[in-house]
Symmetry: C2
């Protein structure tokens, strides 16, 4: 790890943090979300949290200092919630307190398409350089790092995980964290970078590529500050970790929105597609698809191939899920006669019970499903199993008979589809099942199509990695006689 990477590490382990510009009057004000986050994550019990507002007073039992200068302590990290015009002064004051990093949440810089905003952002950057302070933002939500007990929301999971996420949009980071957390995904570090005028996507990508706590890197990017550097960082990171990329601004209207959102130049869509293909990066089109990929990369053991055994309830459902999987190039092997004979021993013949998909809705007591799964597991001529559950196909009020099937110790990679529903009498049960499988560490999806898409893309990604590793290890063997770590000189 070189100096730059080491230094960024300090962002994710501050001992003292100041929230500067937090509103004392109105508990509904957005700035209070940061205090709620740091309190929920118990930062004060592990570090020192300071609040600053010119009005002073007390908030949640903590003293509110009238000025950052009044804080009787040095600072590691400052969260700037001040108006854009006060930002340069905050840099100077923070530097005087020893802070190496300031996150500016504040908007109203280059993204507003007016000279004043652009000039302010230049001034911000000049001041930061002069006072040797690095900036995250402006116009962003900053850092969520559960291990460091830093969070810009109280709604995020407190547990750490293996996914690092760089997001140019704060709202998109909230959405991705919350929607994928529901399905068990946990994060090492999330950085909402906004306008990224100082520390940018390349800095954090280089950092996460080396970060031992991060195995999967997700990125929502609108534009790139230095494309040569970014390409290098991306190529390097893609060799070390799985990367999921959502490139915002792929269309002309999207690119216009990008300019107004974070003052970025979106770049050509085909260049991004080519880059992702070359580097074996999983490209997605929206945040739901990104969540699907993170769920898959986090929980699906690497399948040996793409032969899928589908089982669940419903004749029409079986037909549709079969189509959704095969349409995407996954195959559904037929059950051999031997397996069918074993299944026949304890279940009556009806409809699709002896097929793949196995529709057990008409012929099986829930207790026998377990027995059938054992028989199928012993057979084992497939690479993964997908269990599907659809409440709304019933004639009568919502229930899945027999409760959730325990699937976490199946001898094959296993996934579950629980069809999402907000029909009032169904939502609680859908949530309960999603939560059950998330806690079991089984990947869970909300539709057949999204499951098939994510599983297929991730299988292709793993295949790409294998090929690469094979090529690399042969190459290395020739060059270095088996030394497995090749130093690319990018961030080490």
């Amino acid at each position: 790890m070189n100096g730059s990477c080491k230094k960024l590490d300090a962002i994710f382990r501050p001992r003292s943090v100041a929230l500067v510009g937090i509103t004392t009057a109105n508990p509904e004000h957005w700035t209070r979300g940061f205090l709620e986050g740091y309190l929920k994550f118990d930062f004060p019990a592990h570090g020192r949290l300071y609040l600053v507002n010119p009005k002073g007073g007390k908030l949640e039992g903590l003293e509110v200092y009238k000025s950052i200068k009044d804080i009787p302590d040095s600072l590691d990290f400052v969260v700037g919630l001040v108006p854009s015009k006060s930002a340069p002064q905050l840099i100077k004051d923070s530097a005087a307190k020893g802070a190496g990093y300031i996150h500016f949440c504040t908007a109203g810089f280059s993204e507003i398409d007016e000279d004043e905003g652009k000039e302010l952002e230049s001034e911000l950057l000049e001041t930061a350089r002069k006072y040797n302070v690095r900036i995250i933002g402006p116009n962003c939500l900053g850092v969520y790092c559960p291990k460091a007990r830093m969070s810009f929301s109280e709604l995020f999971p407190r547990e750490s995980g293996r996914v690092g996420f760089i997001s140019q949009s704060g709202g998109n980071s909230n959405y991705l964290i919350r929607q994928s957390a529901l399905r068990g995904v946990r994060f090492s570090k999330v950085i909402s970078i906004g306008n990224a005028s100082d520390l940018n996507e390349s800095d954090f990508l280089e950092y996460l590529a080396e970060d031992p706590e991060t195995e999967v890197i997700a990125m929502y990017l609108e534009g790139i500050k230095n494309s040569d550097r970014f390409r290098k960082a991306l190529a390097y990171a893609a060799r070390k970790k799985s990367i999921v990329l959502l490139k915002g601004g792929a269309t002309s209207a999207g690119a216009r929105a990008v300019m107004g959102h974070t003052a970025s130049i979106a770049g050509s869509r085909s260049i991004w597609q080519t880059l992702c293909r070359q580097l074996n990066i999983i490209q997605v089109e929206n945040l739901d698809e990104m969540a699907d990929m993170l769920v898959t990369l986090s929980f699906l053991p690497v399948p040996d191939g793409s032969r899928v055994l589908l089982f669940g309830g419903g004749g029409g459902s079986s037909v549709i899920i079969a189509d959704e999987f095969e349409r995407r190039g996954l195959t559904l092997p037929q059950l051999p006669d031997k397996v069918i004979a074993e299944l026949r021993e304890f279940s009556q013949a009806a409809g699709n019970f002896f097929n793949n998909p196995i529709d057990y809705s008409q012929s099986m007591e829930p207790a026998n499903v377990r027995r059938a799964l054992d028989i199928l597991s012993r057979w084992g001529d497939f690479d993964l199993m997908v269990h599907f559950l659809v409440l709304s196909q019933s004639t009568r009020a919502a229930d899945f008979p027999g409760g959730p099937l325990k699937l976490s110790h199946m001898p094959y990679p296993t996934a579950v589809v629980v069809a999402i529903s907000i029909i009032p009498e169904e939502t609680d049960r859908v949530y309960e099942y999603v939560n059950y499988y998330a806690n079991e560490g089984v990947p869970v999806y909300f539709s057949y199509a999204s499951a098939a898409n994510a599983i297929k893309k991730v299988i292709l990604h793993y295949r790409g990695r294998e090929l690469h590793e094979k090529r690399t290890s042969e190459h290395q063997h020739r060059l270095y006689g088996g030394n497995s770590e090749v130093d690319l000189g990018l961030c080490s």
Copy 2:
């Protein structure tokens, strides 16, 4: 309307119905779903409902006859819930009571891939022919017709609508009805046809093509009994109504599942695709996409073109929704300077407020959104407006500020995306908004991608109809001097 069509009409207005084989002992038994449906829809207050079970007794205040022969009345329609072996006898007994139609819910016929089942189904058909009774099914859920107060589930809406649905799967009909009802779609007639050994997809398609209560026809089909007849019926129906088709068994595994489910031959995927393109039929890949189409066809006024104005909250959301819409060929016109100047009068410049998508999250009081919409409506250089709402992008617990925007009387076709969420603190609010817009008659979607997909496909469909109508009227004018109804002789 020819004899066959007229006769089918009797299915949908029975005065006396018998549920034969309903379980008296176990209230959890699936056969009870039919009784619940007929009671919930108040059939007994408008017609005569009879229950039959060899054990006799009483159920829900109704006498249970030990045999259909004991019913002191003639019958119009019989729901057969008896074991498959008793089915032929039930045909004879029903015929003796004057019933012209029997729906057999019972499974265990040709779909079980055993000689016994196939023979039973042949016997069923022969008996029906002999006794001049028409059969719906077997292996299906039969008829849902709110106007006739017939329903196989108590969970369906009681109000009638303009969508007719023919489904070869009972579970899929439940799913589609319930999931699209949530978003305001209402049905004229739904027929779950199962094995379709007597009355089949062509019979009901010809019927719905003529049915004045049906404007949109949806079909979930697995296989076709008589493809020449079906092609003709489809071509005829497609000239009169909008058709949405989900063809199950598009892949080899799907086709296998089709065989086990309803004993149908799935047929080639490319033939279906060509047919749909030629006939301007909207083809979909799953039931969620079908629901999206029904919502769009039911509620979106026909747009003049595909220029979309998007407005909602969130910088990152704006970028992604713009991409999702433009990627599918919808265009997002830029706001002209004049409109921007008007908007500037009462809102501060920030981010994407003066762009399309209009992101009002940072610059607008909810009250001013209305004012902005008025300005935009007066401008009007677009063909439809889409409002988007995403709860999970917030840092703090779920809320949309200001409550739902009243959009039903906007002077342009208007749609709403409410991002679906089963996060417990969000679901109620998402449901409330979906329900609000469904009641307003505004089409509501669960994701940007699904909204863009449905709107684009339906716009193309309407364009196809216009072209066809133009061609047809020119053709008719030449042939008939302006007589607008051409009788194709298929079902009239």
